[in-house]
Symmetry: C2
Subunit: 567 residues, 2 copies
Amino acid sequence: MPYRAPISDYEFLFRHAVNFDKIAATEKFSEASDDVVSAILTEAGKLCEEVMAPLQRPGDLEPARLENGVLRTSTGYADGWKAIAEGGWVGMSGDPEYGGMGLPMTLTTAVNEMMSAACLSLQLAPLMTQGQIEALEHHASDELKALYLPKMMAGEWSGTMNLTEPQAGSDVGALTSKAEANGDGTFSVTGQKIFISWGDNDFAENVCHLVLARLPDGVPGTKGISLFLVPKLLPDENGNPGVANDLKVVSVEHKMGLHGSPTCVMQFDGAKGWLVGKEHGGMAAMFTMMNNARLGVGGQGVGAAEGAYQHALAYALERKQGKTPSGTIVDHADVRRMLMSMRADTLAARAIMLANAAAIDMANATGDADWMSRAALLTPIGKVFGTETGMRVSETGVQVHGGMGFIEESGAAQYYRDVRVTAIYEGTNGIQAMDLVARKMMDGGEAASRLLDEIEDHAEQARATMPELAGPVWEATESLRETTEWMVAQSDMNNRFAGALPYLHAFARVLGAHYHLKSALAEPGGPRFKLARYYINALLPEYAGLLVQAQNGADDVFGLSAEEFVS
Amino acid sequence: MPYRAPISDYEFLFRHAVNFDKIAATEKFSEASDDVVSAILTEAGKLCEEVMAPLQRPGDLEPARLENGVLRTSTGYADGWKAIAEGGWVGMSGDPEYGGMGLPMTLTTAVNEMMSAACLSLQLAPLMTQGQIEALEHHASDELKALYLPKMMAGEWSGTMNLTEPQAGSDVGALTSKAEANGDGTFSVTGQKIFISWGDNDFAENVCHLVLARLPDGVPGTKGISLFLVPKLLPDENGNPGVANDLKVVSVEHKMGLHGSPTCVMQFDGAKGWLVGKEHGGMAAMFTMMNNARLGVGGQGVGAAEGAYQHALAYALERKQGKTPSGTIVDHADVRRMLMSMRADTLAARAIMLANAAAIDMANATGDADWMSRAALLTPIGKVFGTETGMRVSETGVQVHGGMGFIEESGAAQYYRDVRVTAIYEGTNGIQAMDLVARKMMDGGEAASRLLDEIEDHAEQARATMPELAGPVWEATESLRETTEWMVAQSDMNNRFAGALPYLHAFARVLGAHYHLKSALAEPGGPRFKLARYYINALLPEYAGLLVQAQNGADDVFGLSAEEFVS
């Protein structure tokens, strides 16, 4: 059951959902013509179908491991990385001055999603490297950029992100790693970091770690944290990998899924590093990387959903059972319901991710503050809905397989196990929801309101031709607006936080309906119209219950004392 | 983080939710006094806490395996089984004439749930044996009963259920296993069966297989199927295990979870068997076992939910992170929301399972047709909601753990992986939902309507003291009634089937609210009142969206042709 890159979906959504033509009309992205986009998607699709998809199972069966201190990756992963690197996919949105292709994030998001569908474990390696590229582009000195960026964009060197410590997870400010100036412009970094994705590998010439640590005069909390670039091998005078730095992989975690991706405990023992950004300004630099990664992780969820959907569909079309017209289970109403839900939610999540990326592109191309706030608003929504869709669709994918779904050989279970972490890393989904109702609403809900205006205006226009679909979208949006106003009015932040996740889910449901409506208008009576009709009739109505929960406030969730939770 | 048996929950629900006093007032169950119930729960709780819970991780890390044709179970499982057997827990609802304790299924359901929470993999062994005991009690000859039942109730022999074949899963009628009369009253059974839970073990003296097969004159489909008891070792003239029968375990599946439970491919090569029930009447006999197993599997879901909840709660109470009053994550509103949802849903699912068991007990004790139809109605709802609650709560349990949740050492992932199969086996949740809207509504919705009347009457009475909780319950029930009437009115069964699962979920939501309301009334202002308030305010409202989806009909889900699913 091979993976097929859903290229027509991307091209359709570029055109009809996220106005890619506006992006291509900017000077910055003027090279992203339809032809270029089409060629890029086709080429990336080939890579995913032919090179990456065959690595999905081997990575699961033969996990990355540490052998006498040397990290060994799964069979075939080195070749997979090489193909990704040589295709230029690591640096596809990188600055052309340093060897990148300078293409829009919208396009990169589509490509990254395809790679995630084909082989999530391996895709995480270029994704982390892309995040580091963006952080260095924005915050590193010209010397660091000149040395590191070309290597990373070419996929010769890979990148990682070192935030978490045992006592400092979601609360990054609690970290204790230290850095001291060496007096020559470099720093000595010491500390232990955990949950470091692709903390090492055996296929890149060098591994570049971005490490958060505290300088001696750094205040406690996030305001005293600085960011350092700490390479595995110290570049020699020619910029080639030289002697080993004072750091090592202590161990590799035994995880529920994503076995092909080594999750490392890293030890830095006075490792030499270079400051990125300002002293004590590490969080700002790290946020660049984290926002990039959040977009990427949402896309991982959508990719896993697509992979799980295709896998389940192939099974349903082949599995003979019961007396149906085709003789296969695809004719059962409940199997149809599952497949329709999988496909409709995947399309909705995909459109939201692409809209998120498109807002980033427009912000970067125009500097427009409205696009920046749109991108900021969509980031937590896309991360959560993308990853929840990955979980839900892969769960349903297992169900479509019946008993075979629980047997590892079928491959359905791997999607389910692998994608589970996406709801956790790069800021748990709960943290994302808090970000949405707090930081992203410090504008009094203006950015949200502007988006809701657009959705309602669009629904108003659509009413003329598709009233039965446009009506429910308008009404759901109006309800969402009321809850948004309620959220903004809460000065007790716990009232917002207690309903943050259901609120975010409702927001995503409505956004998904908006893109489905656009999709339906572009293809009246066609398959995408029918998919949109199912989404709006059957899945959108979930918003109502979610909004009730969103507005329920903190009293109920804090009703029990900690002791009363123990029955 | 040890498991603690939630005995006070069971005692509370027995008293206030499912009217256990009515059961104890029947002649059949007159021995089930409060004291006996309390002693049984305490003793079972001890077994679960001290013997079974320590076997949870070892079973995962060291799966059951086949070595040179011999099935080896995980370390400690043999002792675990022995403790279960010697405690009399296998036969606790069995007929006292054959050595059982004759206790109500309500009590057995509570005990089985505790065992599931402590160690799901091992618990499946006595659960399968209990199902066989019930099937033999109802359908086997006196000779078979006298020989087999005492051994099984004492846990000396174990039992399995052999339905599925590679081409016959949900469509049992497609099976091809054959049986031929030997002329001496016995039969020769030949065929291959797959997905046989606990198909063999190394701790019981004998393993008794109930096997569905077709006699030479059996018509195609389910009406030509007969049931045979096929022991691993043929009993000698004294009833002791003698020579090996012609059957074997071909292989053990490699599964996503439940590693301690061997899922076997079984080969029967003219194995000697004895007819159970009438010729060609195998499905009727098997249904006895399946209905028992469905109740049991729903309880497995609730047990896994309880285990995952306790595990996550312990973590949340200990994990220091962020600036909160206690310094731990339990004070974060989103963590509270997760814990409240886990606990509230687990209580709702537990009450539904106990109500299902109570209806079975009342039906058995009184022969009353209304109790029989109540039990039949609740069985698919309990199976689905119990197992979905297991999935959802264990998913949330992983989330509460943050990054640690994805690391196997934390134990959170195991609950998530193990419980996944419960939504699949013993009739997939989709099959259960079809059963609810088809077979269980052949009475024109009368049984459902009677239950909804009771819920509304109760809400009416509760309105006097708790209007803010009773009102929403009444309204939700009324909406559910309307959709129920819509369901019954659909002559095109695909209209029912397309919305069957969301309908079932909505039904469970309302039922859960009913038991929470009872619970609140029994403890006004107390912890259970607060839990009920959260459930009714925050979780119950989900029903509205589900009912819209339930009534959406088949046109949308069949909107796409099979080809159009392939994008």
